[in-house]
């Protein structure tokens, strides 16, 4: 066959090992992986690696005038209004933010993708009802909904995660719905139907792999919006409750002092940006790495 000469000599199957290797060789994703692994490690090892007790209001943590201390050799990232070590609080906050980010986003992705795929593939009245409900949720101000939900239930880590998920699944559902609709019309799906393959089999083997792209991209984008929404909720006082630190409520607690002690807002803000950026970069590269057509490109 003349065309086969042009085909690469070694067929490669996408395996977990190959994908990981691909992620490590690309600078963008290598950077993202390093940041994420560091943050996860910090979250897991928090109790052992914090230099000071994060909740200890230290006597020497404030200046003689009672002002927070700027970053120094003793307090690497400075101290907050109550004289607590910011670095230690940030490390502990990593735990909260990551749990919320992964948990809330995980729920949102599953809910959104589930609703989107069901509505998109089945269509008809089932799809109609699901999507009208999605539209309703979309029209509702997300922040208001989150505040109402958070006010009804007593804020705890789990409740905050669920509240955020309830707000965040909608965009996912919309995107996945549209994609599934167009996928369901494609010829290779008709082939499967003509073959007599069950709906579940078609969804699992021929629809889901094509949606992976969007799910990963939106899923990783979602992690950053989730962390940001948690920060917003904490900032408004309905998020994770003090003294448990999260990046959001560290900013919230210290915002009034921003002009005099910018590091108190800058460092947690930087952490949020880094995490969001890393997940977006990772999603970006992961998408390419999983696409058989883009094999070996950068």
């Amino acid at each position: 066959m003349s065309g086969s000469a042009a085909v690469s000599a070694t067929p490669v199957r996408p395996g977990a090992g190959r994908v990981l290797r691909q992620l490590m060789v690309r600078p963008r994703s290598a950077f993202a992986l390093v940041v994420i692994v560091t943050m996860v490690a910090a979250a897991v090892l928090a109790p052992w690696i914090v230099p000071y007790d994060p909740n200890d209001q230290m006597f020497d943590g404030l200046s003689l005038e009672g002002a927070p201390l700027p970053p120094s050799a003793q307090f690497w990232l400075g101290t907050d209004l109550l004289g607590r070590d910011l670095f230690s609080r940030l490390i502990l906050g990593t735990q909260t933010s990551l749990i919320i980010g992964l948990l809330a986003n995980g729920i949102a992705v599953m809910l959104g993708a589930g609703v989107g795929i069901t509505a998109g593939f089945l269509g008809g009245w089932v799809g109609g009802i699901l999507m009208r409900f999605t539209d309703l949720m979309m029209a509702f101000p997300a922040l208001l909904l989150a505040i109402v939900l958070a006010a009804i239930f007593k804020p705890s880590l789990l409740i905050v995660a669920v509240v955020i998920a309830m707000v965040n699944w909608v965009q996912m559902a919309r995107v996945i719905y549209t994609e599934t609709r167009s996928l369901a019309e494609r010829e290779f799906i008709s082939v499967q139907r003509a073959m007599g393959a069950s709906t579940f089999r078609i969804l699992r083997l021929h629809v889901l792999p094509h949606l992976l792209y969007s799910i990963i991209v939106f899923g990783t984008l979602g992690i950053s919006t989730t962390v940001l929404l948690e920060a917003t909720l904490s900032y408004l006082g309905v998020g994770v409750q003090p003294p448990t630190p999260s990046w959001g409520n560290i900013i919230y607690e210290n915002q009034t002092y921003f002009a005099n002690a910018p590091w108190l807002v800058f460092f947690p803000g930087l952490a949020i940006v880094l995490l969001a950026l890393s997940f977006n970069l990772l999603g970006d590269v992961l998408r390419d790495a999983l696409d058989p057509k883009l094999k070996g490109r950068h």
Binding site: M1, S2, G3, S4, V7, S8, P11, R13, R186, E187, F188, S190, V191, Q192, R193, A194, M195, G196, A197, S198, R201, L205, H206, P209, H210, D291, P292, K293, G296, R297, H298
Partner: protein, 599 residues
């Protein structure tokens, strides 16, 4: 004058309006810049029609885009060479601003897909006047009148009304006429037509080709035509450049090329073109009990609308169709787009809602649940038009070929692997290719994979829906050979759906011609294609371009009455055509007028 004139060196010194010299177009790929057009040189002589002919990937469209300065940015660029107009204007490397002045005024272009080239939210009139005003061809006051003249020029019926209509209200042929009107609005010297009729039905194609020829005579426009269809080349060209992999294979006047091609590639290309009426005789299959038996097949789709979303009208896609196919036999369904031929294929596969009776290998499909349908499905499989679209891009081809076996619980583990390897060899692929993905294969290879998948369950019937239309002619011939071989060895029955008369001539034992959801003529290949009786069949056959420049095609026969529509208000049913047997096995519908008076 440019140096190019001197080079032609003929006594009458024909005046080139465009000279292309050593044109190389490079496209950026991950492996570096790849040339898609290499060292191409030609002159376009005033008033002639030059055809750039070649298969997909030959660089013919890239050449056209390079001339227009419309190469896809930033991936493709002119790497070297020059493109000069008669007055010496160099187009390669010209600024976008300067190119805009050239486009439409001096060179304009029409594209393959007239729907996507027109703006769907503007009326035809607006789009025409816009071009006129943009290029200062006339004043604002004169513009509507000029627009009307232009539409009359391209022979659109009811031109005044068309000005106020939107593109979706026009048929494909009318849209292409509008595109031609827009292209000729500023009276350019050169018209580049990139596969202008590929997306159109054969009768419409003939009309558009006629139109281009007429306009060329009237305006003295020089035409650069890009096509893959040697029939169109034979009909239109004065001279032909055959391209292959971006290189010029042969340049010759059209009569010389068809009579005595000099290069091996041109010979192969011409030999591969299916010719109507030159197909080899087919072995007569022994009469066995029919494996497909369809009676009174009807497919109607509701059109909903209004506030209550009620059914307001119905598309009568297929009305009361009967046919039978014996093992080892090929029945070809032919007709223009929208005639319902593909819908019949879908109904047979259970992909469209239908009423009537379908028996496959003696099993009635009517009224079966999806579960009850499954064993019947094993006997009937389908091959689609676009092998790229009917393969899942994210699954290895081997797994996809094995899927029917898994779904029907026929094989697993190493047995499955063996069966897949056997199927790959069966269709002329190698087992080493099993672990690859669809994008790593060429179009012809992908169609082989689809055929392997269709064969996996050892079906008795295969529905082939335009299965070679998307392939180049040389590949087309190979795939048709494979289908023929499989038919002889396995006794497969084919329902071969196509719009291409020449291909049908190659493969069919019997032919059924469809129009507006009903069969208007059916019989053996010889009966229908050599002695067509129904006016619609005659019209179709008269429009087929013949790959022979000496053949003068008579004007396309006029349409018999109004262009019908398959959409009808609720409760109004189309008249059922009465069939008469004019010869043994040759059935022809009474023509519309007769049917109306009978009803």
């Amino acid at each position: 004058m440019t140096a190019a004139t001197a080079e032609t060196g003929r006594g009458d010194a024909p005046r080139p309006v465009l000279s292309v010299r050593d044109l190389t177009v490079a496209v950026a790929t991950p492996g570096g810049a790849q040339p898609v057009v290499e060292d191409l040189s030609f002159d376009l002589i005033a008033g002639e029609t030059l055809c750039l002919a070649g298969e997909s990937g030959s660089g013919k469209s890239m050449t056209a885009l390079a001339i227009m300065g419309l190469l896809p940015q930033p991936t493709a660029r002119i790497a070297q060479g020059s493109i000069r107009l008669a007055d010496g204007t160099e187009l390669a490397g010209l600024s976008d601003r300067a190119l805009r002045k050239i486009r439409a005024n001096r060179i304009s272009m029409i594209f393959q897909e007239p729907m996507t080239s027109l703006n769907p939210v503007l009326t035809i009139g607006t789009q025409l006047t816009e071009v006129l005003l943009e290029h200062g061809a006339c004043s604002r006051a004169e513009a509507p009148g000029r627009a009307l003249d232009l539409l009359r020029d391209v022979r659109i019926t009811d031109a005044a009304r068309r000005l106020k209509q939107y593109p979706h209200e026009l048929s494909g042929g009318m849209r292409q006429r509008v595109m031609i009107a827009i292209a000729l609005a500023c009276d350019p010297e050169i018209l580049i037509a990139d596969e202008p009729t590929t997306a159109l039905d054969v009768t419409v194609q003939a009309e558009i080709l006629d139109l281009i020829r007429t306009l060329q005579r009237e305006h003295g426009t020089t035409v650069l035509m890009i096509t893959h269809d040697m029939g169109v080349v034979a009909e239109m060209a004065d001279r032909v450049i055959v391209l292959r992999h971006g290189r010029q294979e042969e340049t010759a006047p059209v009569h010389q090329l068809f009579a005595a091609p000099r290069t091996a590639y041109a010979r192969e290309l011409l030999a591969a073109v299916p010719r109507l009426g030159h197909a080899p005789a087919r072995p007569v299959p022994e009469r066995l009990p029919d494996v497909v038996d369809v009676e009174g097949l009807t497919v109607r789709y509701p059109i909903r609308g209004g506030i209550a979303n009620r059914v307001q009208a119905q598309v009568h896609a297929v009305e009361n169709v009967d046919f039978r196919i014996a093992p080892g036999e090929t029945l070809a369904l032919v007709g223009e787009s929208g005639c319902g031929k593909s819908t019949i294929g879908k109904a047979l596969l259970g992909l469209a809602p239908w009423t009537g009776s379908i028996r496959i290998a003696g099993q009635q499909m009517q009224g079966l649940s999806p579960k009850g349908l499954k064993p019947v499905r094993r006997n009937i499989q389908m091959i689609f038009q676009d092998p790229g679209a009917s393969l899942d891009a994210r699954m290895t081809v081997g797994r996809q070929v094995g899927e029917p076996l898994v779904v029907h619980g026929q094989a697993r583990g190493s047995e499955l692997q063996d069966r897949i390897e056997w199927l790959f060899r069966r269709v002329g692929l190698t087992p080493e290719q099993i672990d690859r993905y669809p994008h790593e294969f060429s179009g012809g290879q992908r169609q082989r994979i689809c055929i392997a998948r269709a064969l996996a369950l050892r079906p008795r019937v295969i529905v082939a829906d335009e299965c070679v239309s998307a392939l180049d002619v040389s590949i087309q011939a190979q795939v048709l050979d494979l289908l023929r071989e499989l038919q002889q060895e396995e006794g497969l029955a084919y329902l071969f759906i196509s719009h291409d008369m020449a291909v049908i001539d190659q493969v069919a034992d019997r032919v059924a011609v469809m129009n507006l959801g009903q069969i208007v003529e059916t019989g053996s290949r010889e009966q229908v294609l050599r002695t067509p009786m129904h006016p619609y069949t005659r019209r179709l056959l008269s429009a087929v371009p013949i790959p022979d420049p000496n053949h003068v095609r008579p004007a396309v026969l006029a349409r018999d009455g109004e262009v019908g529509s398959p959409v009808r208000p609720l409760g109004q049913h189309p008249v059922r055509l009465e069939m008469d047997e004019v010869a043994p096995g040759h059935w022809v519908a009474r023509s519309d007028a007769a049917a109306r008076s009978a009803a």
